[in-house]
Symmetry: C2
Subunit: 233 residues, 2 copies
Amino acid sequence: MEQVGSSGLVVDTIGAISRHIREKDLMPGDRLPSEAILSKELNVSRTVVREAFRSLAAMRIIELATGKRATVAQIDHGAMSLMIEHGVHTDQINIQQIYDVRRTIETRIVALAAIRRSDAEAAEILSLAAQMLECADNPAALLEHDLAFHTTLARASRNPVYSLLIGAFQGIIRQTWPIGWKSRPTQASRDLMLATHQDIARAVAAGDPQQAVDAMAQHFDESVRALLAAGMS
Amino acid sequence: MEQVGSSGLVVDTIGAISRHIREKDLMPGDRLPSEAILSKELNVSRTVVREAFRSLAAMRIIELATGKRATVAQIDHGAMSLMIEHGVHTDQINIQQIYDVRRTIETRIVALAAIRRSDAEAAEILSLAAQMLECADNPAALLEHDLAFHTTLARASRNPVYSLLIGAFQGIIRQTWPIGWKSRPTQASRDLMLATHQDIARAVAAGDPQQAVDAMAQHFDESVRALLAAGMS
DNA sequence: CAAGCCAAACCTGTCTGACAGGTTGAGGGG
DNA sequence: CCCCTCAACCTGTCAGACAGGTTTGGCTTG
C-alpha cells in the first residue's frame, strides 16, 4: 500500500475498510473480507489490517469474534460510554454538565415517548416505576431499575440517537448515582424521587406530553438540587 | 497474562490500561508507559499491547504518535462523528432523527450561550452570521461558516458535552447539508435562513435567552420543512 | 556558567512466519 | 432429507527483526 495519507498505514487501512463498507453498501451483520484477503488487496501486512480492525471495533463500527469473519456492527453506546467516562475522570467534564444535557434530552424524550410509546412500552415503564418502589431500600437494585426506566423511555421515543445518548451516559451514571442517592438523607426526599418517577410513567402511559415534560423537569430539578447539596459544584 | 476476562487478552489489556490511567490519575497530555514496559508488566506480547493502544486511540482516550510515547488525550468528537456516520450509512439512523436531536440540544445551547457567552464570543457569533450573508452564493463556504456558527454557540454554552455532541454531528451534516440547501430553491427561502442566523446571533449577543431560543426553534422548523420538501422522509 | 549540539538509548511502525484453537461449509452416511 | 464429520479457513497470540522518529544527558563551545 502506498500510504496515501500521511498518518500511517493503519489509518489509511481504516479508511479503506470504511470506504469498502459504504461502497458495497454493507448492512449490520454483513461479513467483511478476511484479514488475509484484505492484507493482500491493500498490500499491507496482516498486522496492519488487524490494528485497523481493532480500531473500527473500538468504535463499534465492526464486530470481531474468534474464528468468524468480522461483521458490520449495529450502533451501540459502549464506546461513547467509555469516552464520556474518560472525560469525567480527567476533569474535562463534570457531573452537573452531564445532568444539564440529560435534562435537556430526557425532557424531549418523554414528550416523544408520550406520543409514540407502544402499549407494551407503556406497561413496561409503569412496571419499572412500580418496581422501584418495591426495592426502595436496595440502592443497587434501585440504580438498575432507574437506568432501565430511562433506557426504556428513550427507546419509546422511537429515535435511536436518543437511545444512544442515554446509553452513553449510563456508565458514568452508574459510577456517580450513589453520590446522589446518599445526598438524599431523609425518607421524604427519597420518596419524592420515587413518586416523581411514577408521575413520569403515568403521564407517558396516559399519552400526555406536557405533563410528562413537567414531571421530568421536576425530576431533574430535584436531582440537581440533591447533587449540589452533596457538594458537587 | 492470565486472561482474567473471557473476551481475550486485548480486551483485558484495554481494561488494564484504562485502570492505570484512572488509578494514577493521569490527565490529558500525561505519558503512558511504553509498549515494551506494558507488555512485560502485563505478560502479554507487544502485539496485544499495540492492539489495545489502537483501540483506545480509536475512542480518542489516548493519542499515539510515532517515536513518542502514548499520551492521555483530550475529549474529541472525531470518533463519535464516525459512529454517527456509520449509523446513518447503515440505515440505523435517519437525518430527521438527527435534526430532532440537534433541535433539542441547540435550543438549550443558545439559551445557555445567551447567558454565558463572553464578549469575544458574542462578536465572533455576530461576525460568522454576517460572513454567511457575504458568501450566500457559495454553498461550500456557507456550509463551513454554518458549522462554525453552531460550533461557536456550543462553545459559548460553557458545557463541553454540548460541544462534543455538536461536533459529533458535524461529519454527517457535512455530507447531507447540500441536500437541504438545494431544497431551498427560491431566493426568499435562502434569505430567510440567513436572516434567521442573524436573529440568533443578535439574541445571543444581546443576552436574551428567550429570543435566542425562539429564533433557534424557527431555524430548525425551517430546516426540517426544507428537508421534508426534499423528500427525506 | 549557560546555551546549544550530538550521539546513544529508547520508542513506535511495519513485516514475516508460526502455531493453537474456533468456525464453516461441502460432502458423505444414515 | 437430515445430521454428522472433517478439511479448509479464519482469528488470536507470540517472537524476532529492522527502519525510522524522539528523547535525553553529557559534552562542547562561547
